[in-house]
Amino acid sequence: MKRIITATVQNQSGVLNRVTGMLNKRQFNIDSISVGSSETEGIAKMTFVVEVSDPQKLEQLTKQLNKQIDVIKVSDITDKAMVARELALIKVGGNGPLRAEIQGIITPFRASVIDVSKDSLTIQVTGKPDKVEALITLLRPYGIKELTKTGVTAFLRGQQPAKQVTEINSFSI
């Protein structure tokens, strides 16, 4: 099962190395990690999308993360109301009439063309991972020359509904 885990960490040098080293040593499968600064100086936020086989493995993952000295808080937000987004940059081949066609494809995704050259264009898309994935699938026939994704970053919505929701299912990651 896929889970989205967030961690609040002390922004020390080597903290990413510590965390990824631990995950690797303990044989956890990580789909993506994103790291960046937070609202507090000196504190960074990490978002992990992980593939775990069972609840016991998941518990180990959060406990091992928590055990890191630099990790202040770990949350599994998969079953909470949350916002989860990633960004992808996609460079596709295309000139002349193809460009218009591609523009037609990306518009419903609210993606934008951020660079154009003689025979390629670069598209930026942000959103839930399944939306990003859907656009990539649609663009594949045009020849993807280069692709890069940031990995998911996520946090809880401002308000949690009384009833538990499983937002993750809605984008089936």
Binding site: G14, N17, V71, I72
Partner: protein, 572 residues
């Protein structure tokens, strides 16, 4: 103008080096012994040590591995952090086995490594190694000092992290420019670690659950590990076991946490544990684990481990709970506090008389056994003699392997912190240097290094330290001219193909003598008692080459992949 210059001169006089600051910080941390070895990147630190009147002694090893195993022995015996100092590059990499060993066995160490100057870090400079990269996975935490002003705080944090919660090794990497830099005396060492707040006090609700489970249990049993020893919980453990008449099994590293000669003790559990301990865990309906981590050498095949038991687990490290064995009652906290909370709880006596008798009958009916050889010394018998002649009061250190298992089986430790062995990592060459640290930590006690002929040869250069410091460590080489456990597995599982496990040894007597140390050899049973009496009375270091039966095997045994109820070699 003149006044300003004078002021400047005064200030310059007060300046100290980073190395001086380090020495002051160590003194502030109440360090009494440093185990180390000098080298280029730590020259400023060794110079500061030379110039200072530091209230601690420095023990010069002959290999950095010797330093760190000695620090481990010191930490195990005193409960205080062992302190190590080594240079950059090879000095630091020579520590790796010891750091990993300390990490696996939760020993508090603070290790200072020199580093090349900040300006050349990352350029593959002479004697540069990526200490942070290398030690991140094998330490509880590590630091590289990037500004001298941080040093006092880092040192204080390092000791705090190493010695609190679940203890472990902490590395502090100090670039040479930092230890050379001048600074006004600065001892600002306040720290705040929001991500490190170990839970000591157990949750009362969980204690209640455990109390209820105990009062309802028909087949309760205790398993205690090193966590109980680190928590100094031996008294509470004994009170708790006796109050509720609970049979107790120890893990290898938990030996001594509960008195081995107590009527409720079932001895060691696990691969070479007793029948009573292992069958107890197999049949129990409530298994209360106090500070053990359910290591694979303890549990055997997890499918067959404690299959009928509700498992309760008291551990200061939450990540150990539920890691290997599903746990119904997790209790995060210090073993001493948890046991005290249980002792303070009203708990109905469980109705388990029949069960208790069954386990104690198992203990009586299936004792450890061996065939005593008629012409050669049996290693088990030798271990029993060491126990008898030292009246069970010695501090015993070992390497890993057969002699270690026999020590665990036949030396009944009644007190904690007397048993110094490499459990998790299983490090050959650990026992002898660890005995040096143990002796320094407990100068009044009899320290016996029971080592294998293989393991001893990995770190025997430390004999120089024994001689130099005249430490009265008794080294007993359980010499079977083989890598005994390797040989045993080849006999049992590789159709007696003894691949590279039968070894040729030096003359250990002459070897000891070449270091200026008394050397002795024993190869007859009738001489053992007098030799042991002699060396235990002798006020100085001795090396005894004790020739034992080569083909002896450690039994009973749970073969790899088997369950704890599938022991072999339980009876003759």
């Amino acid at each position: 103008m003149k006044a300003e210059v004078k002021q400047e001169v005064e200030r310059a006089k007060e300046m100290i080096t980073g190395a001086d600051l380090l020495i002051e910080s160590l003194a502030d941390a109440q360090v009494d012994t440093v185990f180390g070895y000098p080298g280029g990147a730590v020259l400023p630190i060794y110079d500061a040590l030379y110039r200072s009147e530091a209230p601690f002694k420095h023990i010069l090893s002959r290999h950095e591995q010797g330093s760190i195993h000695a620090a481990e022995g010191y930490a195990r015996v005193t409960g205080k952090p062992g302190v190590v100092l080594a240079t950059s590059g090879p000095g630091a990499t020579n520590l790796i086995t010891g750091i990993t060993d300390a990490m696996m066995d939760s020993l508090p160490l603070v290790i200072f490594t020199g580093q090349v100057a900040k300006g050349v870090i990352g350029t593959d400079a002479f004697q540069e190694s990526d200490v942070m990269g290398i030690t991140t996975p094998i330490t509880k935490y590590n630091y590289q000092v990037s500004q001298l002003s941080e040093l006092p705080r880092i040192v204080k944090e390092a000791f705090h992290i190493a010695s609190t919660g679940r203890p472990g090794p902490v590395v502090v990497d100090i670039p040479k420019n930092i230890s050379q830099e001048l600074t006004p005396p600065n001892f600002k060492n306040d720290f705040y670690l929001p991500g490190y707040q170990p839970t000591k006090r157990p949750n009362p609700l969980q204690i209640r659950k455990l109390a209820d489970a105990l009062s309802r249990s028909k087949k309760p049993m205790l398993l205690t590990g090193a966590g109980a020893v680190f928590a100094k919980a031996s008294e509470e453990l004994k009170d708790f076991a006796e109050k509720f008449q609970l049979p107790v099994a120890n893990t290898l590293l938990g030996l001594g946490g509960f008195p081995g000669t107590n009527g409720l003790s079932l001895g060691m559990a696990g691969m070479h544990g007793t029948y009573a301990a292992n069958m107890g865990m197999y049949e129990a309906d409530l298994l209360i684990n106090i500070g053990a981590r359910f290591d694979d050498r303890l549990t055997g095949n997890l499918e067959h481990f404690a299959p009928h038991a509700k498992v309760a687990h008291i551990d200061i490290d939450p990540a150990e709970i539920g890691k290997n064995v599903p746990t119904a009652i997790p209790v995060v906290g210090d073993a001493k506090e948890a046991l005290q909370a249980l002792l303070d709880s009203p708990i109905d006596q469980p109705d388990h008389q029949a069960w208790k008798e069954k386990l104690l009958n198992n203990k009586r009916d299936y004792p450890l056994w061996y065939e005593r050889s008629t012409d050669v010394i049996s290693p088990q018998w030798l271990t029993e003699q060491v126990y008898r002649m030292s009246e069970g009061e010695a501090i015993i250190t070992t390497d890993v392997g057969q002699h270690q298992m026999w020590a665990a089986q036949y030396y009944a430790f009644d007190k904690p912190n007397r048993w110094v062995t490499s459990g998790g990592l299983g490090t050959m060459g650990f026992g002898f240097p660890a005995a040096i640290g143990a002796q320094l930590g407990a100068p009044e006690d009899l320290v016996v290094a029971l080592v294998g002929d293989g393991g001893f040869q990995m770190t025997l250069q430390e004999l120089s330290v024994l001689k130099e410091k005249n430490l009265p460590v008794k080294v007993i080489i359980v010499n079977n001219e083989a890598l005994g456990m390797v040989r045993q597995w080849q006999e049992s599982f590789y159709e007696e193909r003894y691949s590279e496990s039968i070894i040729a040894n030096p003359d250990f007597v002459k070897l000891a003598e070449s270091y200026g140390i008394r050397g002795m050899k024993v190869d007859k049973e009738e001489d053992v008692a007098s030799v042991l009496e002699d060396i235990f009375d002798y006020d100085g270091p001795v090396v005894v080459d004790c020739r034992v039966e080569q083909k002896e095997c450690v039994y009973p045994m749970i073969a790899p992949g088997k369950g704890i109820h599938e022991m072999i070699g339980v009876t003759k």
